[in-house]
Amino acid sequence: MTSTLEARELVVVREDRRILDGASILVPPGEAVAIQGPSGSGKSTFARALATLLEPDAGAVLLGGLDAQRIAPTQFRTRVAFLAQQPAMFEGSVLRNLEAGPQVHGKSLGDVRASELIRAVGLDEPILQREARTLSGGEKQRVALARALANEPEVLLLDEPTAALDPDAGERIVALLRELRARGLSVVMVTHEEAHARALGGTLYRCERGRLAIDS
């Protein structure tokens, strides 16, 4: 079961600059949405506001029609998983990283589920025992995806997941996101790369000067 994720007229002002100037978006259940725009256009700020990691000065984020203000942040962020551009790896093995999400909710992950998750992001099981901080950029991105999936989210929200990767690794991540969407997850990807935005499939929004518009 996935829910609609929506942002209505988000405004973020920092030091007298309107970084977001009434940005809105609608992500129907199971849909893919790419947000493309040049650097400095406000798209990363938008992603963080949509993830409720940043409080907008005006506007609202809604999940399943309910204002995010009325959903506990811990619950919202379990349902909407956010991945930063260069996801931070926690100290310890990849397995420890995968366990982090369930652990904060007082659950345990289990070895079988850990193996499933790592395979779902296109990695092999031996990597579970490796030190997470020694992985390559592409591997870290995948581990972060698996770590987010361990919470069984409804929406994946990714900020520039391909920006720090070489072209091949970037394309493989986009393909993986398409796969996850096919399994019923909603996917929102922020990117400055036109090709990746198109490759995701689904709706394409352009971000310019803090506003979003559907690319027709």
Partner: protein
């Protein structure tokens, strides 16, 4: 009680020790001469002043005066702990919180001891209350300063980790747990080291003072043991309270990390 009197000329003689440090500083071009002179004069002036304050207090022992003096000591300790926190909020924000943290730590350590271990007659007996509270305030001050300094710095340098945990649905408490643990360990370590090395490396100041002024060593030792245990309680409570404040300053009500801008 008998002890060797320090006459004024003899006191001035001790300035030669500062002269040694100044000579070394000049020879090695450390540039510390001014600080040494200023520090030596200021330290002496502060101590002489407090000596007169204590004399006055002992002669006119009244609860209001004792409490006033303790309040001034608390304010100075809090102002010191709240200043120069490089990655933290401004001192105006930290100062009231430092007052509460240092005050809470000191109360927890001082009240039960004076109620049950070293009963005072009357309860505001300045001879005990002022110096022992001073030691507690000073330890709490150091712990709170360390906590503020470290927790804001590590929240900044590890912001991506903290946010990654928040993004996984962690509460602010869970997201900052690692940094809090490291901070409290670092802040409590000097006090714990003090416990481990006491008597082996140095005789503590108060015990030395008591022995010099004629208290039987076995009583001086007992006093010192009580004080050491008090210092531990002070450090733990003041550190915990300061961490609690820091956590509230680092997150919004909606569990968003906000790094203080300075």
């Amino acid at each position: 009680m008998s002890y060797a009197h320090i006459t004024l000329p003899r006191l001035l003689l001790s300035l030669a020790l500062i002269a040694v440090a100044i000579a070394l500083s000049r020879r090695s071009r450390l540039g510390l001469e001014r600080d040494l002179v200023w520090g030596a004069l200021r330290g002496a002036a502060q101590l002489i002043a407090v000596g007169y304050v204590l004399l006055l207090l002992f002669n006119h022992e009244h609860p209001a005066w004792v409490i006033l003096l303790l309040a001034v000591m608390l304010a100075v300790a809090a102002a010191t702990a709240a200043r120069r926190v490089e990655h933290g909020p401004p001192r105006t924000v930290l100062f009231p919180r430092a007052i509460v943290a240092i005050g809470a730590g000191t109360l927890v350590a001082v009240v039960p001891v004076f109620a049950a271990v070293v009963p005072l007659h009357p309860w505001y007996e300045a001879r005990y209350l002022v110096p022992i509270s001073g030691m507690m305030l000073s330890n709490a001050m150091n712990v709170v300063a360390l906590v503020f300094e470290r927790i804001f710095a590590s929240a900044r340098s590890e912001a991506d980790q903290v946010e990654a945990l928040l993004a996984l649905g962690a509460t602010p408490r869970q997201a900052l747990e690692r940094q809090v643990r490291a901070t409290l360990r670092a802040a409590l370590l000097p006090t714990i080291n003090g416990l481990l090395t006491v008597g082996l490396v140095a005789l503590p100041g108060m015990m030395t003072g008591q022995i010099v002024s004629g208290t039987p060593p076995e009583q001086a030792v007992r006093y010192q043991i009580v004080i050491l245990y008090q210092l531990v309680a002070v450090a733990a409570v003041a550190g915990m309270v300061a961490v609690g404040f820091a956590r509230r300053l680092l997150f919004t009500a909606r569990a968003q990390l906000v790094l203080p801008r300075n």
